[in-house]
Each structure stands twice: as structure tokens, then as C-alpha cells.
């Protein structure tokens, strides 16, 4: 899934940035986030954070390029005959 070992860790960096931005946008002095609530935002931020990190990794790009070559909706009987 990844070509670089750094990718999942880079995802953590992006997640921290996204999590910080989200908590900064949402948190108010009257309604501070608890530690658990902030942890939920930081944990969820890892999902798009990992995606951003994957944009810097060649493996996901290669996977996309390979899949783009295939027509997954081609009629099955024709596909089998072709094989």
C-alpha cells in the first residue's frame, strides 16, 4: 500500500495539523473540548491526514494508474473470451 515507510508517520503530521485546525475552529472559551473530545478529532483527522501523506507516496499513484487501465465494467463474457 505504501512505498515509503515514512508515509503512515507523515500522515500523523498531517493529522496533527488538521486536528489542530479543527479544534481551533470549533473550540470556544465557553465550551472547551475535553481531552477525550480533542482526542476523537485528532484520531479522525488521521483518515484525511493519511490520504494527504499518500499523495506524496508513489505506490498509491501506481495503483491508481494500473486500475485506470482496466475497464471493470466490461461485459464478462467478452472479458473471459479475451483471456
Amino acid at each position: 500500500m505504501f512505498e515509503y515507510r515514512r508515509t503512515p508517520y507523515l500522515g500523523l503530521v498531517f493529522a496533527a495539523a488538521i486536528g489542530f485546525a479543527v479544534t481551533w475552529l470549533l473550540e470556544t472559551p465557553e465550551r472547551p473540548l475535553t481531552l477525550a473530545q480533542a482526542a476523537i478529532f485528532y484520531a479522525l483527522s488521521y483518515l484525511p491526514g493519511l490520504g494527504l501523506a499518500m499523495l506524496t507516496d508513489p505506490a498509491p499513484r501506481k495503483a491508481k494508474a494500473e486500475y485506470l487501465k482496466v475497464d471493470f465494467y466490461a461485459p464478462r463474457d467478452v472479458g473471459e473470451a479475451g483471456e
Binding site: 500500500m1 488538521i18 479543527v22 475552529l25 470549533l26 473540548l33 477525550a36 473530545q37 476523537i40 478529532f41 479522525l44 483527522s45 488521521y46 483518515l47 484525511p48 491526514g49 493519511l50 490520504g51 494527504l52 499518500m54 499523495l55 507516496d57 505506490a59 498509491p60 499513484r61 495503483a63 491508481k64 494508474a65 494500473e66 486500475y67 485506470l68 482496466v70 471493470f72 465494467y73 466490461a74 461485459p75 464478462r76
Partner: protein
């Protein structure tokens, strides 16, 4: 988009009061049973095109065809309008946002069918089929699916916070 549709549907249902108010139809509460049911059914309705494919009534190419068109959204809205205008508005918004969510897929959406066969796509990720484990796994080998779908879960959590829903109550 696959799992991200869950978060997107939940987010749309959280905006039900704003959507219905903007359309001038009777208000529907955020995350009420009514808003959740209408939004989730409408949001997933385009993907029910897999059912005739699985039953052998249609070819694989039927996926992301007529059910992913502006005409389909208009037809669903028009069919619901006489019964419940709020449901019609929520359904149309849910359908249109389903199309937006799917616009990153390379399969492309024939939004203007039957008037045009042109498929519209942002080509953010390669489509790898309509169902099954391979389609699921290969979708998440690509970067933009994580960015867009993961981002939707962050947005949904933000809405939970704004509406003081557990665990942000």
C-alpha cells in the same frame, strides 16, 4: 465514495433544519428519525442500481448510469413533492450531494442522461467496480479516497460538536 457516504448522509441530516428552511418547506429537525430515514434512503438510492445487476437483470454498465443523473434526482423530488415537500427537498439535496461525492471517481457520472452520454469526473481515484471486496480494497489503496471520505468523518464529528451530540454533549 464508499464508506464516506455514511458520514455525508449523517452530515446532510444534521443540516435538515437549514435545508428545509432555505427551501421554504416545513421544518425537519436535525438527526430526527424523519431526517435520518429520508436522507439515508435518498442518499443511497443511486447505488441501489447494483440490485438489478446482482439479479442479472442488467449488465455491470448499468451502475452509475440512469440513477446518477439530474433527471433521476428531479424525478425523485417530483414523486415525493405531493406527499411531503420537506422530504422532496431533503431527498433532492441528498441525491445531488451523492453525485458530488461520486464525482471524483474515474467512472464518471452521466449527469445529463438521456440528453447526453457525456460522463463527468474529476478523476481523483480510479473506479474498480460497483461492489465486492476487491472494489473496496482497491479503492482504499488510493490517496484521494482517504482525503475525501476521511474528511467527511471529521466534518460529521464537527457537526456532532456543534449540535452537542454525544460524545460532544
Amino acid at each position: 465514495m464508499q464508506v464516506g457516504h455514511l458520514a455525508l448522509a449523517g452530515t446532510i441530516a444534521s443540516f435538515a433544519p437549514e435545508i428545509t428552511a432555505a427551501a421554504g418547506v416545513p421544518r425537519v429537525e436535525a438527526w430526527s428519525v424523519e431526517s435520518l430515514a429520508v436522507v439515508f434512503v435518498a442518499h443511497y438510492l443511486p447505488n441501489f442500481d447494483v440490485i438489478p445487476i446482482k439479479l442479472g437483470w442488467a449488465t455491470d454498465r448499468f451502475h452509475c448510469s440512469y440513477s446518477h443523473t439530474l433527471l433521476f434526482a428531479a424525478a425523485v423530488g417530483a414523486a415525493l413533492w405531493p406527499f411531503n415537500a420537506s422530504w422532496a427537498v431533503l431527498a433532492v439535496v441528498s441525491l445531488l450531494l451523492h453525485f458530488v461525492a461520486d464525482s471524483g471517481s474515474s467512472v464518471g457520472l452521466p449527469l445529463l442522461l438521456p440528453f447526453s452520454r457525456k460522463r463527468y469526473s474529476l478523476y481523483l481515484w480510479a473506479d474498480t467496480g460497483h461492489s465486492g471486496w476487491f472494489a473496496f480494497r482497491s479503492t482504499y489503496q488510493q490517496a484521494w479516497t482517504w482525503v475525501t471520505e476521511g474528511g467527511m468523518f471529521v466534518v460529521l464529528a464537527a457537526r456532532c460538536h456543534q449540535l452537542r451530540v454525544w460524545p460532544f454533549s
